[in-house]
Symmetry: C2
Subunit: 501 residues, 2 copies
């Protein structure tokens, strides 16, 4: 290994270990820690974040990167060495733009805002959260200023989650997709054969839900020998290495979908991290390349696989074994239709595939307005409800079912929401390419076996970690740039069948 590169790698490993320690502090805070521990935990997380920032933005580290870049200039573009250096150059430049005191404030405010949001959501009390949201928005505006932008401050923010994409590109994709699927939504609502989903709203003992989650996750590729399923109010996946990639789920005694599809969703995230190449371990390349690509993997397992007819044709008998009373007399087809019911609703994470992206477009537009200053935090609940009525056709009865439902705005992670909808577009495009490149993938999937698809994802996406940008990756894997069309085709084909249009 070249000498300078080796010196760089050693430092990178050290910083990465600290990153993972900080991530464990965060994981533990959500899953295990008693609430009383929060104040000190936030300080611990802040200290680690500060230290990481100091180490990452030190002149000495910049020099190490520059030296290693010169030394590896002839390495192939897709080599681990060239890819790591490329990533670090970009990330170093980005991080150096943020002052140390900003990092500290950001960590402190976010750390404190999270439990306030948890309580505010529980109490349906937006006013309690509002002063914190205001601080978080200010952090977002300040951050956009540090990163810099030409016209739209939101450009600076979305780029941090989806490297290389612009607000205008996102808007174009969203508008095209919305327009192309609106006729489908209308057809479903006006002519579709009604779907009864009462069967997922029965009493499902939580222990049995847990047992089924442990049964089903391996069928979308999740390896429990390198993982752990915990409980969290707001489910997430987090990995400490490819050998320890964890998922969390929430359990409702009277609603099966959150735990079932939540588990499949987080499993999709986790298998991405479990599938990163071992040679990338202890480097920042050992993770998904962007939020959108990450979400494509979770949505792939939650929906493209996990809400497919083949999958339930195969696994419904096992589900019925776990809940014999609840599913007495229910057919696989009944269940399949129930979990694909299209119904405009309040909660993003429970939205069906046809309306889901509308929830995202709403957030995308509100975020832009908050960041540009066109919308004040105090007016957000009203704006939210108005837009819900206009776009989704329903008005949330409470803020808990409206503006308070997501954890995301406890951090200045503006620009993150759109990656959820991008994830759906990527997922459909990956799925279409995989099936086109190898028809047996589609045949096996129709038979409920996702193994060949998972292998394709492993080869084309997971193993590369963060070596390529999302744009590069989608081009390499599918031969085309991101488009809304595969997703539109996927929705029309699937829901034409389900609603017998």
């Amino acid at each position: 290994m070249p000498e300078k590169y080796q010196a760089l790698l050693q430092k990178v490993n050290q910083i990465h270990d600290l990153e993972k320690a900080a991530q464990l502090l965060a994981w533990d805070r959500q899953v295990i820690m008693p609430q009383a521990g929060n104040e000190i935990r936030v300080q611990q997380m802040t200290t680690l974040r500060q230290l990481i920032h100091e180490m990452f933005t030190a002149d000495e580290f910049g020099q190490l990167i520059a030296d290693a870049a010169a030394e590896t200039a002839d390495y192939p573009y897709d080599s681990n060495e060239a890819s790591l250096v490329r990533y670090l150059q970009d990330e170093y430049a980005d991080r150096c733009k943020l002052p140390a005191d900003f990092i500290t404030r950001r960590a402190e405010i976010s750390g404190r805002a999270t439990p306030v949001w948890v309580q505010a959501r529980q109490d349906n009390d937006f006013a309690a959260f509002q002063p914190w949201l205001e601080q978080v928005v200010e952090l977002g505006q300040e951050m956009a200023g540090y990163y810099g932008y030409e016209n739209d401050p939101y450009d600076a923010l979305v780029d941090k989650f989806e490297k290389g994409i612009t607000t205008a590109e996102v808007r174009a994709l969203f508008d095209a997709q919305k327009e192309a699927t609106l006729p489908l939504l209308n057809a479903i609502q006006e002519q579709g054969r009604p779907v009864d989903d009462a069967l997922v709203n029965q009493h499902f003992p939580i222990d049995q839900q847990k047992a089924f989650a442990h049964y089903i996750a391996p069928f979308v590729g999740y390896d429990f020998d390198r993982g752990y399923l915990g409980t969290a109010v707001h489910p997430f996946a987090s990995s400490f290495s490819r050998w320890d990639a964890r998922i969390t789920t929430r359990w409702y005694a009277h609603f099966l979908n959150p735990s079932l599809f939540g588990t499949l969703h987080e499993s999709g995230h986790a298998i991405y991290e479990q599938g990163t190449h071992p040679d990338l371990a202890r480097t920042p390349l050992a993770r998904g390349t962007s939020s959108g690509i990450h979400e494509s993997q979770s949505r792939m397992m939650e929906n493209v696989v996990g809400r497919s007819w083949g999958f339930w044709q195969r696994h419904f008998p096992a589900l019925r074994d776990h809940f014999p009373d609840q599913f007495n007399g229910v057919s696989a087809r009944d269940f399949y239709r129930a979990v694909n019911k299209v119904k405009p609703s309040f909660i993003r994470v429970e939205a069906d595939e046809v309306t889901y992206n509308l929830h995202i477009i709403l957030r995308f537009e509100l975020e832009q307005a908050l960041i540009s200053g066109d919308l004040a935090a105090t007016d957000l609940p009203t704006a939210w409800n108005d837009k819900m009525q206009e776009m989704v056709g329903v008005t949330p009865p409470t803020d808990r079912e409206g503006v308070l439902q997501d954890i995301h705005w406890t951090r200045p992670s503006f620009g993150y929401f759109p990656t959820y909808a991008l994830g759906n577009l990527y997922a459909a495009q990956f799925h279409a390419a995989a099936v086109e490149q190898d028809p047996t993938i589609g045949e096996q999937l129709a038979d409920g076996d996702a193994t060949p698809l998972i292998a394709w994802l492993g080869d084309n996406i997971h193993q590369h970690g963060r070596k390529f940008t999302p744009g590069e990756l989608v081009q390499r894997a599918t031969g085309k740039p991101l488009s809304h069309r595969p997703f539109v085709r996927y929705l029309i084909e699937k829901f034409t069948d389900i609603y017998e249009l």
Copy 2:
């Protein structure tokens, strides 16, 4: 706050936060992490330990301590400021004696030895662990050399767990206690009314054991709002702040004692950390002052309180409610006698109060022999078994029930074992002093209420954290230096009653 001291405190907070992050990596490794994650986890822990060592032993940190010491020279001895500076001066001197590469090797070897020991214990395969033990012993010898000693390298090691005590002092205490309690042991074996403990060896559903652990721990002062009960192969307590002090337990379906008394034991450790004064938070004073004093608190709750007649007179009905079939027709007195049965046995953590210290003295002697080089690792199983026969009167049928039973020698923590026996001595002395100072403490305890005793411990021990050395603390709290006599008196009084001597 004086300026130099404030600068010191800021750095101390930062280092302490990293310590706690490292501790969480370790806690999680034992309680949550999938086995596959170990290799990378060890590297993460090593990185943190390295960084902490660098920061703690930096000349700049030494200067900060010296400056703050000069600035606070007039502060009262028992002030937080003077106590922190005193502790740091001592710790700084100690840590500077260990080279950075030694710290790294120690963390790596210990990290890797732990899962080997877990497997070796499971497989009853000492040979698999032996090469690791050899490395750990060499680390211990090397460490003693760095710390320095006059005659006995073991002096240098025991001092790290029980500041200020010497091997000779420990030996004198142990010999005196052994001699004074031998007649009791003989009397029990020869003239005692037999105790039947079959009732604790029935089937106890683990869920019910967990429920009872959650019921009983608060009665020895454990605050679940600032804690968490997890599961671990080798139970331990670990705190991330006084607001997040956790315990772990192991559960056997056919043996009640490990989970029941293990929970009380770890609760005793945890209430020490939960009871440290809030002003000590984010400093190294926010923990127990020594291993021996810490153990005194766990043994206090496990035995002095948790195996007392008053305690079970009060709580046996609740235990029977949890296990109505198992304890049908059993009286509180039957249970009390059963959990106090004296019987020479193989496993330290299950040993009764009369023979427990013999297990420790055995380890104390073997450790000294390993460190001095008089005993080779390969000869350890034989030496162990011979000594067990000689001292306790039994020979373990397997190494799993012998030399492989404890996790301690996966780290070079030689000098730690004796603190277990010292803990019993301290506990009896604290208990005697508390009852003497305030007779209602004893009266309430006889009635099963430990609250006044817990309050006394909070005032005299817990709140001080690590402000005083163990010698200072025992003198302040009891007015006397440590003696074996209160423990001997306690044993004789208690077991004369139980065995009707």
